[in-house]
């Protein structure tokens, strides 16, 4: 056993030991099983096919632990104001829900949001059958670790036909004052015909030391339900981040994921979608923007298990300095999933000599009446386009910024216009050279 694994096992065992005796037995069981599964799988290495391009040594070598007490968070109010959009929002600090910074006003009827810590205590009978069903501890070491450290997070329920026009926001802040290990778990259950938008924002606050966020979100979409999911990962330079989004879609349901990976030294962002009913539709969009020595790893898996579902996937990477971007997208079409329509695109723009991109678009097709295509490309800015702009008197730097921004813009435009898109543009502005200095943003 490696020292890193031993340390995490020790941290998790001590965490489990301090749990209150009054906690329900099933919660303890979920944690124990998570720990056992984590121990069995161990920390991944680059010898594992799924982690071939992403060494997790910064995670393995760090001395991270969950906080026991969040303490005074009043100083974070300004930060929350800067990051949050108008409307209902829940704020988590170092993985724990902080009611004082949160506001649930404006949640429409039929939409309920509950802190996971409360739900674990009060809603056992129902939650037991939902938690850990989409994100399987036995299938992923970091999902197992999240289960072993299960404590807080959120449960979002959409009653049948409920319609939430305002986005539900979850804001996760980690404070770099101590090596925090935050393991939030979000459970979303959308009943038949409901519709909502969920925004998860990950950001840093306080000190600049390393933190480790290991987040898991599980989504169950009922028949004809619809969810727009946004994931804005903009943590600080020293942060480490592993995020897993696991979705199961019912008949004729619609799901759209917009994943923006902007922050953290090392970030892995996974999206797994399984179609369980015919006629489902999934859109997976992703933009990763790296600079300095950032390593941004995106993994998506679409499981077309039933006929007549369609999926559209577009992931783009902009990589500057010595940053490295990785994309691994799997589309699996099972035996009986006839009339599947799946398309996947991955495009990478390298802005510097030392930037790196790895792409692994992967198709596994076992049905014959399907339309499946994927494409991947790696390149730099188009020399002709640059020339065109320069010949019209636009300086080279400016031209490069314009073209870079244009490359990324497709994914920004996929965000509905309004406060949310402005927020995304604001976050991008700090990352993309084009938007930051060139004043291109409208």
């Amino acid at each position: 056993m490696t020292a890193g694994l031993a340390r995490y096992l020790d941290v998790a065992s001590r965490f489990q030991a301090r749990g209150a005796a009054s906690e329900p037995a099933w919660v303890k069981r979920v944690r124990q099983q998570g720990l056992a599964q984590f121990e069995r799988q161990g920390l991944p290495t680059t010898r594992d096919e799924a982690w071939k391009y992403t060494p997790v040594s910064p995670i393995a070598e760090g001395h991270f632990a969950p906080v026991e007490d969040v303490g005074d968070t009043a100083a974070l109010a300004a930060r929350v104001e800067a990051l949050a959009l108008p409307g209902p929002r829940w704020v988590f600090v170092d993985g724990r829900f902080v009611p004082a910074l949160s506001s649930v006003e404006g949640l429409p009827r039929g939409v309920t949001l509950q802190p996971l810590a409360d739900a674990l205590r009060d809603d056992g009978a129902r939650l037991e059958s939902e938690l850990g069903q989409r994100a399987l501890a036995e299938a992923h070491p970091f999902t197992a670790l999240n289960a072993a450290l299960l404590e807080d997070g959120a449960v979002l329920r959409l009653a049948r036909g409920a319609l939430s026009e305002v986005p539900v926001q979850l804001l996760f802040l980690t404070r770099g004052d101590a090596p925090v290990l935050a393991s939030p778990r979000v459970v979303v259950v959308a009943e038949e015909g409901s519709e909502a938008t969920l925004v998860e924002t990950y950001a840093s606050a306080g000190g600049a030391g390393p933190t480790f966020t290991n987040a898991v979100t599980e989504v169950t979409l009922g028949d004809n339900a619809s969810l727009h999911h946004f994931r804005l990962q903009a943590e600080g330079d020293a942060a480490l981040h592993v995020g897993g989004l696991h979705v199961r879609q019912g008949r004729d349901s619609r799901f759209a994921s917009h994943a923006f990976a902007l922050g953290a030294a090392l970030a892995r962002n996974e999206v797994h979608v399984a179609f369980a009913g015919e006629g489902g539709d999934a859109t997976l969009n992703g933009l990763y923007v790296g600079r300095d020595a950032q390593h941004l790893d995106q993994r998506t898996a679409l499981d077309h298990a039933v006929p007549r579902c369609s999926s559209r996937e577009l992931y783009k990477g902009v990589l500057d300095d010595q940053s490295r971007g990785t994309f691994h997208g799997l589309v699996r079409v099972r035996k009986d999933a006839q009339r599947t329509d799946a398309r996947q695109q991955n495009r990478n723009l390298l802005l510097s000599e030392k930037a790196q991109a790895d792409a692994r678009p992967q198709l596994e097709i076992l049905a014959d009446d399907v339309k499946c295509a994927h494409g991947a490309a790696v390149g730099r800015l188009d020399a002709q386009a640059l020339f065109y702009l320069r010949s019209r008197g636009i300086p080279r730097d400016e031209a490069e910024r314009l073209l870079t921004y244009a490359f990324a813009r497709e994914l920004v435009e996929a965000v509905p216009a309004g406060a949310l898109r402005q927020r995304v543009e604001g976050l991008l502005a700090r990352k993309l050279p084009g938007a930051a200095r060139g004043g291109v943003t409208p």
């Binding site: 390298l350 930037a355 790196q356 692994r360 596994e364 009446d369 399907v370 991947a376 490309a377 790696v378």
Partner: protein, 478 residues
């Protein structure tokens, strides 16, 4: 198309499945250092080669069979294989007259009349029967041009300095499990050396035949094209129909020195096993070429046989301005499994590579394209274009695409495109409406799907490949 015609057509017998009654000298099954020593002694090899074999064997013993490929098969018992089987004849032959007539008849049945080759076709053939090379044609004419084309054993005897200089430089003895095994026990194969500035006057061809039961075939091919030389090389393979699986673990090394061009074409038609997946060849092959400055290596393969195909012909684009190409058609029918693709490793500046892969799955076949395009930091302005298309004929087969793209240089331009589809009803209808039978229509569409690859094959092979494809899957559309 009705299921009946589909089944009827996919059940076409394997035409090359007969066994020839040739008296053979074989080793008992099993593998240890003594077997390797005996093999080496039998072939009167110099000591450097024996040492190399033993080094490979010792390394092989520390290795494990790879498990990453998307194929399943019964475990291979390496101790149950005979590592040497040779038709019994006078060891050194001067002309075809000394070759066992039964062997010549075998090649004739397979459509490779060695005798007639002399007169009719401008193709020099090296025929490998079980483990040893039995005949090489057109030697004199080639010798005049300075081209060396002979069996590997002969090369070891006649040109040890060349063998020693290049053997293992592209695929080292420790490369992978099957290559290490081959390095330890390879029995024969072909050797080609084309001297500086020479354009090889004819196509070179090797025909591989596994005949004996319980044997494995482990041949090793080494092709060296010296500066500015050009050579086109073809290989074909067949084996008798048997209920048990046989292992074929070959290694091919290509060395293209500055400015040289090597074109390597394969039509692989090993016995694929019957409709229930019984028998068939396990084809685990390592093929790799190294292209120096301004050199070009082009792989073309048509893979229709074998129960399992595991091969990734690769090009290491070491020199500046070197070019790598890979054109492939892989067909899996019944219970065949193919996991094949290529690796293009861009090291030099201005290196270019093209990959065109066409996978066809029918019956319960599983077809995987697995490829790597790697652009290293040094490969300024590298360019790659990859296209892999899959065609599914039937709802019980599978097509998988697993490309790996690794780019470490911003000036590189790498593109990958893939699609999966079936034969459109509208396409079939169009042909039927014009009086073309269902089978011909399918065959036409499939051939059209593969055209980009077939046009890279030398003419004689292109015709054979088209026929082979017809035999292997006509009418597999449900």
């Amino acid at each position: 198309m009705t299921t009946d015609t589909l089944q009827e057509l996919t059940r076409r017998p394997y035409a090359a499945g007969f066994v020839s009654q040739v008296e053979a000298e074989t080793f008992p099954p099993g593998l240890d250092e003594d077997v390797i020593r005996a093999l080496s002694a039998k072939k009167e090899e110099p000591s450097f080669l024996l040492d190399w074999r033993l080094k490979a064997f010792r390394h092989w013993q520390t290795m494990r069979e790879p498990t990453w490929q998307a194929v399943t098969y019964h475990p291979i018992d390496y101790q149950a294989i005979r590592y040497y089987s040779a038709p019994r004849f006078k060891p050194k032959k001067d002309s075809l007259d000394e070759v066992d007539p039964e062997i010549l008849r075998t090649y004739e049945k397979l459509g490779i009349p060695l005798e007639e080759q002399k007169r009719l076709q401008n193709v020099a053939v090296d025929a490998v029967f079980d483990s040893v090379s039995v005949a090489t044609t057109f030697k004199d004419k080639l010798a005049k041009a300075g081209v060396i084309f002979c069996s590997f054993s002969e090369a070891v005897r006649e040109h040890p300095e060349l063998v020693r200089k290049y053997l293992g430089t592209v695929v080292p003895h420790s490369d992978n499990f099957f290559a290490a095994l081959n390095s330890a026990v390879f029995s024969d194969g072909s050797f080609v050396y084309v001297p500086k500035g020479v354009r090889c006057p004819m196509e070179l061809s090797t025909y591989f035949r596994i005949n004996a039961a319980e044997t494995g075939q482990f041949e090793r091919t080494l092709i060296v094209a010296d500066e500015g030389a050009y050579v086109s090389y073809l290989e074909g393979c067949t084996a008798p129909q048997r209920d048990t699986n046989q292992l074929h673990a070959a290694v091919v090394e290509l060395v293209a020195l500055p400015g040289a061009t090597i074109k390597y074409s394969t039509v692989q038609n090993w016995y694929p096993g019957d409709a229930e997946g019984k028998g068939g060849i396990y084809n685990f092959v390592t093929k790799r070429g190294i292209a120096h400055e301004k050199a070009k290596i082009s792989w073309t393969q048509v893979e229709t046989g074998s129960a399992i195909t595991w091969k990734y012909p690769s090009v290491i684009l070491k020199g500046d301005d070197s070019v790598g190409e890979f054109y492939s058609v892989a067909l899996t029918n019944n219970l065949q499994q193919a996991d094949t693709g290529t690796k293009m490793v861009h090291i030099g500046k201005n290196t270019r590579s093209t990959i065109v892969s066409k996978g066809i799955s029918a019956g319960r076949g599983q077809n995987t394209y697995r490829g790597l395009v790697k652009v290293l930091k040094s490969a300024q302005d590298a360019r790659n274009y990859t296209q892999c298309d899959s065609l599914l004929l039937g709802d019980k087969c599978g097509a998988h695409t697993v490309p790996y793209i690794e780019v470490k240089n911003a000036t590189a331009q790498v593109e990958h495109e893939a699609s999966t589809s079936k034969i459109g009803e509208d396409q079939l209808f169009y042909c039927r409406q014009r009086g073309i039978s269902q089978e011909d229509a399918v065959s036409m569409i499939v051939n059209g799907f593969c055209r980009q690859v077939f046009k890279e094959l030398p003419m004689e092979f292109a015709v054979e490949a088209q026929k082979l494809l017809g035999v292997s899957l006509e009418g597999s559309v449900g």
